[in-house]
């Protein structure tokens, strides 16, 4: 490895900006802001947004594309899109905070959001097992803290602990899988691993390594049957933290595993194009996808808590993303990244609405949304866009993402193989999914409140963030080519 530290420095500028921003927020808070309690949150949010904006600028502007620092990092279009995506989702999360949170220590919350985003950004760029693992851990540890951040509610502590214990276990699985991969191939560089795997065939040990890695992936992405943490965490964590866990962490996680699985392990991928094709890790992905589609959609039907409902919907969406991961061989990374990013936008939006309603009298049960159209028409209108996008109704972005993935799945081998079957299953399940999404909208837009409801005063930054997310979902849905055409 030729250690060119200037190259490393350039490649890591966005992360540097984020970490510096986070530290500056903490210093600023201790030295000045804590004496000005009314402006404390506002300044921290502004500094956080500034950090994210400069990171996005540096990500777009800086660095020559290609492998960096001897192949430890990879700067390509996927890195760029994924980085900008997580920065945008992080910024939306931050903008939701003023007026919606009663968290004490809000500056710390924002600093940790920036640390998590730095982790996501590293996950998007890493091209090596060890760095990938460390980036994932940086992001995960930040998210555990964010989940348990609300010290006034025991549910939050429960969410944090549950997330931490299960997440820690999945990290152990991942590390075990990585160590086996290292043992088998003699390298932690994805390019070297790919070359080594090219010359070997499937062995039992390799199979174990792949299972370990995919189990961990399933945990992190909340794919059934490793989804059990998701409903509890989504329900217990503060709504802005949930927004980040559900959106940006998914984008980064999928980017990391796309890079690990496709360029790194593609020789043992197998195929899901037909039944007679050889099996590899794609078989496991297909099983995870089918299980998530079924469990997520059917589980969501029974929910009466809106956060748990969205958690099950997230599991269902993971099922579609897993299918998107499977069709990369045919369609490239475009559809899957488009899908995760637009899903992230819709989810941040939905949890943003929940956060605002939560700050105005609580939002746990579905019935807490009753009368939203009277309390705040803008909020209700945005929720309509977010939920319909999650449901996959055109012309919103959620529909086009599904459409692109299904098209690729059918192109992979018609319905003669698992890819086509999964696409059929996903289409059938999205008809079922419409039911629970309409239930949410029914509560928010149709049911008349029995007594007088207080109007919601929508804070300006939150209104701006939600409106931006809704407009983006419509624009990306009507004109998907600018994002898809990047790949």
């Amino acid at each position: 490895m030729n250690a060119d530290y200037a190259e490393l420095f350039h490649a890591l500028l966005p992360e540097t900006a984020l970490v510096c921003g986070a530290l500056f927020i903490l210093f600023f808070d201790i030295l000045w802001a804590r004496h000005h309690s009314t402006d404390r949150l506002r300044f921290a949010v502004m500094l956080g947004l500034l950090g994210l904006a400069s990171a996005a600028y540096l990500a777009i502007d800086g660095g020559t594309p290609g492998p960096q620092f001897g192949g430890v990092l990879m700067l390509d279009m996927m890195t760029l899109v994924s980085r900008v995506g997580v920065f945008a989702l992080g910024a939306l999360t931050l903008a939701l905070l003023p007026g919606t949170t009663r968290l004490r220590h809000s500056a710390e919350f924002i600093a940790i959001v920036l640390f998590a985003t730095a982790g996501f950004s590293l996950m998007a760029a890493s091209n090596q097992l060890l760095l990938g693992f460390l980036a994932l851990e940086l992001a995960s540890l930040s998210l555990y803290i964010l989940a348990g951040f609300d010290k006034s509610r025991p549910e939050s502590a429960e969410a944090g602990l549950k997330y931490y214990l299960l997440g820690g276990m999945s990290s152990a699985f991942l590390l075990f899988g990585f160590s086996l991969l290292y043992g088998l191939t003699g390298s932690i560089e994805l390019t070297h691993i790919a070359m080594a795997l090219h010359q070997t065939s499937m062995t039992p040990l390799l199979a174990i390594a792949l299972v370990m890695v995919l189990v961990a992936f399933g945990f992190k992405a909340a794919a059934a049957p490793f989804h059990l943490w998701a409903p509890d965490v989504y329900q217990g964590a503060p709504a802005p933290a949930t927004a980040l866990i559900a959106s940006a962490s998914k984008v980064a996680g999928f980017t990391l595993f796309i890079r690990l699985l496709w360029p790194g392990l593609h020789d043992v991928a197998g195929s899901i194009a037909s039944t007679s094709a050889p099996s590899g890790w794609l078989t496991i992905v297909a099983v995870l996808s089918a299980a998530s589609l079924l469990l997520g959609n059917l589980g969501a039907l029974a929910q009466s808590n809106v956060r748990r409902l969205l958690a099950y919907s997230a599991i269902a969406h993971t099922g579609v993303m897993m299918l998107g991961l499977g069709v990369i061989a045919r369609a490239g990374q475009g559809p899957i990244l488009y899908y995760t990013i637009t899903y992230g936008l819709a989810t941040v939006g939905a949890f943003g609405v929940i956060a605002v309603v939560d700050a105005n009298g609580g939002c746990q049960r579905l019935t807490d949304l009753v009368g939203l159209h009277k309390r705040s028409p803008l909020l209700a209108g945005c929720l309509l866009v977010f939920i319909l996008s999650l449901a996959g109704v055109p012309p919103l972005a959620g529909f086009f993402g599904k459409f692109a993935i299904f098209t690729a799945a059918f192109q992979l081998g018609g319905i003669s193989g698992p890819a086509g079957w999964l696409a059929l299953l996903a289409i059938a399940m999205s008809a079922i999914g419409l039911y629970y999404y309409l239930i949410i909208l029914k509560q928010a837009l149709i049911v008349q409140p029995t007594d007088v409801v207080a109007p919601i005063k929508l804070p300006l930054p939150a209104a701006f963030a939600l409106f931006t997310a809704a407009v983006l979902l419509i624009t990306l849905g009507v004109f998907p080519s600018p994002l898809l055409g990047l790949f």
Binding site: A331, G334, H373, L388, V393, P394, P395, F399, F403, A404, F406, T407, F410, Q411, G414, I415, G420, A423, L424, I427, A428, S430, A431, L434, Y435, L438, L441, K442, L445, I446, P480, S481, L484, G485
Partner: protein
């Protein structure tokens, strides 16, 4: 002609505008909605005068939209879509006139209403399967809100059932279309989602696959067209919907399904069509008879009309699969005719009668001398009923006659059974007229004091007769009269001169795209 795409854009813009106007006053929202609908109708009528019927689609707009998968923003019309675009304009305008009394959340009502209309216009102009699908789904979602929020009887159930049926049906369509595209792209030749490209791709499908894909696409669309046994959403949805929405549902939304069958399913998959033709024809005939018989025994006035819609849509489906030019042109004519007549019937039942008497139970209505209390409604309903039965002079007659003749050419047995369906339609319509409006006919002459019913309080409930107010109901308003005249005028005009539409429809059917449809799938 070139302005025709603006019907789509104006409808969506009108939806946003009436949402904003509704914040100020209900009247403003109404005005915006009516203006939008009238302008769109004007554009479509102007285009209709200019329209030169030729075989094949006449492109209005064709822009590349999405690169991969290749999708064009391709709008085009032929005589069939022109017919339905004019129908949409008429039905939308009349529906707004009959929704004039919506007071609650008026702006939102018309926003959903116009969004639905925009989607419908879009479907009728799409020449690209993806675009078709997008507009088709845009038309589905507003229906849920229109019914669940402004509806009556069991509205949340009806709305959800309708939304899920439609969405499931469109899921089948999506699967079929994407599969076809995938097969076409596997050959390596460049392919778009354009209907003509998909038709070429479908030719390369093995027969077995084509049979399955045809079933997916056809039955997906047929769900929305109310083909037996996929029709069960229709009566409950129609009954639950507010008047304007049920006029649209029966008037144009069910036509979306039938149009999808004609434009997409039948031409693209001839082998599948040949395989399924007999089954579909039998289902259509069963639907005609079954729904007619069910309508005959309904107690809820609106359910009578709801089932009659299913029965009449059975004629459309029968005409489509009878595989000859006469039946197919009759089917398109029937789409227009039923759109107008069903709108009229729902307007009378939902707006003129139910909004005033607050009951739709035939038992209750029969106790009222409605022909005296609401003479205008009775007059309209008798005319609309005659039209619905297929009396000469109204549009239903040439439509059903051509379908029956065409069906006879395919199979005399099916033609015969379907003809019995016409009799059943006469039976349930006459029963509805008699029981609802003329249940308690008194002596002829002016409504004198002896005829007046005693005070409701004086009537013991044990008699089993339902009381009704003595005071006359509010008279039929001007918007209602206007809407009635619009729809009645349309049905009489086409009834007397069906050539107006047939001269558009028949050239369109001679397009090569429909060759297989008119030959029962054999090429």
């Amino acid at each position: 002609m070139t302005l025709l795409p603006y019907t789509i854009y104006l409808s969506f813009a009108g939806a946003l505008l009436s949402l904003a106007a509704g914040k100020r006053s209900a009247a403003a929202a109404r005005a915006v909605a009516l203006l939008t609908a009238v302008v769109c109708t004007g554009i479509s009528l102007a285009a209709a005068f200019e329209f030169k019927p030729i075989a094949g689609l006449q492109t209005l707009v064709d822009l590349p939209w999405i690169a991969t998968p290749a999708i064009h923003y391709h709008l085009a019309v032929d005589g069939i879509s022109m017919t339905l675009i004019v129908l949409t304009g008429l039905a939308a305008t009349a529906g707004i006139l009959f929704s004039w009394n919506i007071e609650e959340r008026t702006g939102e009502f018309f926003a959903f209403y116009l969004a639905l209309i925009g989607g419908v216009y879009g479907v009728f102009m799409s020449a690209d399967a993806f675009l078709f699908f997008v507009f088709y789904e845009i038309a589905i979602v507003p229906k849920y809100f229109l019914i669940a929020n402004w509806g009556s009887t069991n509205r949340e159930y009806g709305a959800m059932k309708l939304a899920l049926y439609s969405f499931a049906g469109s899921g089948l369509v999506l699967a079929g279309l994407v599969w076809t595209y995938a097969v076409g792209s596997a050959t390596g030749a460049p392919i778009t989602f354009g209907l003509d490209d998909l038709a070429r791709a479908a030719l390369t499908l093995p027969a077995h696959d084509q049979i399955i894909i045809f079933a997916l696409v056809f039955f997906g669309f047929a769900t929305l067209a109310g083909l037996f046994p996929l029709h069960t959403w229709a009566p409950t949805g129609h009954v639950a919907a507010p008047t304007g929405a049920s006029m649209l549902l029966a008037g144009v939304v069910m036509k979306l399904g039938a149009y999808g069958c004609l434009r997409v399913a039948l031409p693209l998959f001839p082998v599948g069509f040949a395989y399924w033709q007999t089954t579909i024809a039998w289902l259509a005939v069963i639907g005609i008879i079954y729904a007619g018989l069910v309508a005959l025994v309904q107690q809820d006035f609106k359910f009578v009309i709801g089932y009659s819609s299913v029965s009449h849509m059975g004629f459309v489906m029968l005409g489509l699969v009878a595989a000859n030019e006469r039946a197919a042109s009759g089917a398109v004519l029937q789409m227009f005719s039923h759109g107008v007549i069903a709108g009229l019937l729902f307007a009378v039942v939902g707006r003129m009668v139910y909004e005033r008497t607050h009951t739709r139970q035939l038992d209750a209505l029969t106790a009222m001398p409605l022909h005296r209390l609401l003479p205008c409604a009775a007059f309209t309903f008798v005319l609309a009923g005659l039209a619905s039965m297929g009396m000469p002079g109204f549009s239903g007659f040439p439509a059903e006659l051509t379908i029956l003749i065409g069906t006879w050419q395919m199979s005399p047995l099916l033609g015969l059974i379907a003809a019995v369906g016409v009799l059943v339609a006469a039976a349930f319509t006459l029963r509805a007229i008699q029981v609802s409006f003329f249940g308690k006919t008194g002596r002829a002459g002016p409504l004198g004091p002896p005829d007046r019913e005693p005070e409701p309080a004086a009537r013991p409930a044990a008699e089993g007769v339902i009381a009704f107010p003595v005071a006359p109901y509010p008279p039929i308003t001007w918007p209602e009269k206007l809407g009635t005249m619009l729809l009645l005028g349309a049905t009489v005009l086409i009834g007397l001169k069906p050539d107006l539409l047939l001269n558009w429809i028949i050239p369109a059917l001679q397009s090569p795209a429909f060759h297989a449809v008119l030959k029962g799938g054999s090429l």
